[in-house]
Amino acid sequence: MGFDVNQLYAEICGDDVFFAYAGNIVSEQINLILEEIEKKSVEVSTNIKVRKKIYNIMVESLQNLFHHLDDVPEGLSETLGKRYGMIVIKREGGDFRLTVGNFVSADKVKFLTEKIAKINSLSNDELKEMYKFILNYQKLSSKGGGGLGLIDIARKSDKKLEYRFYPYSDRYYFYRLDIFVSI
């Protein structure tokens, strides 16, 4: 077995982590995570703009996890929990690095790759126009997501999004997204 999610989590956390969570992503948990992030971000940044940005990005990332993460592959759910996701916020050079990870089925890899590549290819003004277009013309999905989450995250991020898919099995990948906020 090549991919070990616990090892990846430990690697991502490394040093200088100020918030880390790995486990089930359910509604009550989201509330607790956001409360904790809000509390801890006061300790690591005096800049309210930075704190708001981090909070906003985490709100959206947790919503994305809540609505879109796939159940963990069979055999892992007993140890990880069925709705497993990870969130790590750490300092890295002049940035806060916000990492979000979850299992996705293999058929989503192409869609996500293309979506992020498209978002990364756009300027801030183009992202703004795309956001407004989707806001105005696309209906909400039954899950309540509007396809706006990633675009909103990219608008608030101070660098291009980084992402990676770690192969777990034929049917599953572990999807990792990194977002940066300047300190």
């Binding site: 509330n31 708001k52 959206e60 806001l135 309540g144 509007g146």
Partner: protein, 126 residues
């Protein structure tokens, strides 16, 4: 017309829709997982209000945070207000944002460019 009053929670805003005064207020955080459920009564109230709206409706929106799923529902609220204005009733929209919160100011400008009612942008200092 009944007043619609909803107390705020850590995930949903305080709502005060006063039909007899023509004052509509949404204040706080709007980050529920299911925003459609939360905003449904607001949109329905506005549909009813449109039939007997005051000559002047004042709208005060003061959001600290909102998620993208709320953003569509908030646009639905604005679209109902736009319809009231189209029926030749006055609608004033005050968009409050915290000092230096450029993202929230920009969010207001995004809405303003979609609906055809000018927003008054008000920075809340302190």
């Amino acid at each position: 017309m009944d007043t619609l009053s909803i107390e705020g929670t850590p995930k949903t805003p305080t709502v005060r829709f006063n039909g007899s005064k023509g004052i509509i207020e949404i204040k706080g955080r709007s980050i529920p997982e299911n925003s459609i459920e939360f905003y449904k009564p607001l949109v329905e109230w506005l549909e009813a209000y449109a039939k007997e709206s005051k000559p002047q409706t004042q709208v005060n929106i003061q959001l600290e945070y909102f998620n993208t799923s709320s953003s569509k529902c908030i646009l639905d609220v604005f679209k109902k207000l736009e319809a009231i204005q189209k029926a030749n009733q006055g609608v004033t929209i005050n968009w409050f944002y915290d000092e230096d919160d450029e993202d929230m100011l920009e969010a207001g400008q995004d809405y303003e460019s979609i609906i055809r009612i000018p927003f008054k942008m008000i920075e809340v200092v302190g």
